[in-house]
Amino acid sequence: MISFKQVDFTHSGQRLFAGLTFHLQKGRYLVISGPARSGKTTLVKMIAGLLGPTAGEIIIDGEAMESILESRTKLRQLRRKVGGVGGIYSLLTELTILENIALSAEIAGLSPRAARKSALEACGKYRLTHLLSQVPDKVSEVERRAALLARAEAARKDLIVADAPTDGLDPQSAAIIHERLAALRLAGVTILYLTSGSGPQNGPDEYLHLHEGKLAP
């Protein structure tokens, strides 16, 4: 699903990645941990097509990022496959929780009716049914993150990028997020989890540590 091959990335004279290499196969759950400013969010931005590498190659779903970035259509198609929670991903402030989830499903290609149905199902799974008509500002942080996961699930995303999804949450709320991610993994969704801590104990297939621009087990 995702391959980073000898990826270098330099920003403002600072070398963030130096020959970064990893492979995340379809349906697998990978945790990448690393200290603050080690480049975790940069990694997310690269997967979302917001940043390109200085050197090296990124391949997502068999397509080279270089070619994806050259075509708006390919970039949109890539983004329709990737869901996210935390980091750069957030809900649309002017839509309700239900509208946010349904809209994402519609953009991913579902019909409005199917998108709404899928959104309602996802809201049920994430215990958000009492918040359907609330705008994101009116719900708690854990509910917002649950809604982001529900959004990705309703849109049937192939890949979920979780960028420090439990930061600032109490252990109980964090456990709910971890539980849902593990369930998604079992449902065949590919998951990339980035954290400055140790990450979830149950569910992931592999753990890597990002340090000084390189990954190590």
């Binding site: 983004r79 329709r80 996210g84 649309l92 002017e94 839509l95 809209l103 991913a108």
Partner: protein, 284 residues
């Protein structure tokens, strides 16, 4: 494509959330569009006054003393064949003298050997005529036998036409400037709106949204806000025109149909402004 009901709700939520920006943007739009309204009323009213002035033009044909009274009927028939005439009035020497005395005082002709004033036909027109049309008519009427002179206030009309030409030139410049200001203001206003929505815009892009989610709602919002501002501007103008009267001048206001066309054009300008406003966000 974003659903219309969601789009309407999205706009209303945005207005509630960003009251200041929304109200400010709308007011700025309404004000610049009122500038066009004022310009429109001014040009319409001045054009009407111009036609009114030209409509009051009359042509006097002075008849030679050598023409016998018996020839006047044939002559009148020839003069009456003029296109666009409202009436042809014959003024005898006595009536001319009477008119002169009324205007300049009794006894003005005393001491003169007889009545020196000529007989004349006065042509009144049913619609305004341009200087070129009057010149052509004069040329044709001069060919009539027994006409000594023709007078229609040529120099005065020339001045009016010159003034109208100057006004039109200035009008085009001012109109162009106003249109430019409107477009610029709309682009800036929409840029402000776009900036206030930039976070949501970014998230939509991350979701892989295409132009139907990113661009079209903005264009629709630009169209709606500009056309509503245009209509409200005219409502204000109609209200004020009913309260303000300028001496004998009647302000010329456009018809409802014209206002509808104007609102659509303003809406299209709003769309163009919206596009210019979010172009950078789209490209990023």
């Amino acid at each position: 494509m974003i659903r219309p009901d969601r789009f309407v709700r999205q706009i209303s939520r945005h207005i509630r959330r960003e009251k200041r920006i929304s109200l400010g943007s709308f007011l700025v739009l309404a004000i610049v569009l009122i500038l066009i309204d004022l310009f429109w009323i001014a040009s319409g009213t001045i054009t009407q006054q111009y036609h009114k002035l030209l409509g009051s033009v009359r042509m006097e044909l002075f008849i030679s003393d050598a023409v016998p009274d018996s020839a006047l009927t044939v002559m009148r028939q020839a003069v009456s064949s003029v296109e666009g005439k409202a009436a042809v009035v014959y003024v005898s020497k006595e009536e001319a003298a009477q008119f002169l005395e009324t205007e300049l005082g009794a006894g003005i002709l005393d001491g003169l050997p007889g009545n020196p004033l000529p007989r004349s036909f006065v042509i009144f027109f049913d619609q305004s005529k341009s200087l070129d049309q009057l010149d052509a008519l004069e040329k044709r009427l001069r060919r009539l036998e027994g006409i000594d002179a023709i007078e229609f206030g040529r120099r005065w009309i020339e001045k009016v036409e010159q003034a109208a030409r100057n006004f039109r030139r200035v009008g085009y410049i001012i109109g162009g400037i106003i249109l430019f200001v409107v477009l610029l203001t709309m682009a800036n206003t929409n840029r402000l709106t776009a900036r206030s929505k930039s976070t949501d815009f970014f998230q939509l892009k991350l979701l892989g949204a295409g132009p139907s989610y990113l661009l079209y709602p903005f264009l629709a919002e630009g169209f709606l806000s500009a056309s509503i501002a245009a209509v409200l501007g005219w409502v204000a103008m109609y209200y004020l025109a009913g309260r303000v009267s300028v001496a004998t001048i009647t302000l010329v206001l456009p018809s409802v149909f014209d206002v509808a066309i104007y609102a659509v054009l303003a809406g299209l300008t709003g769309m163009a402004g919206a596009y210019l406003g979010i172009r950078r966000l789209l490209m990023s």
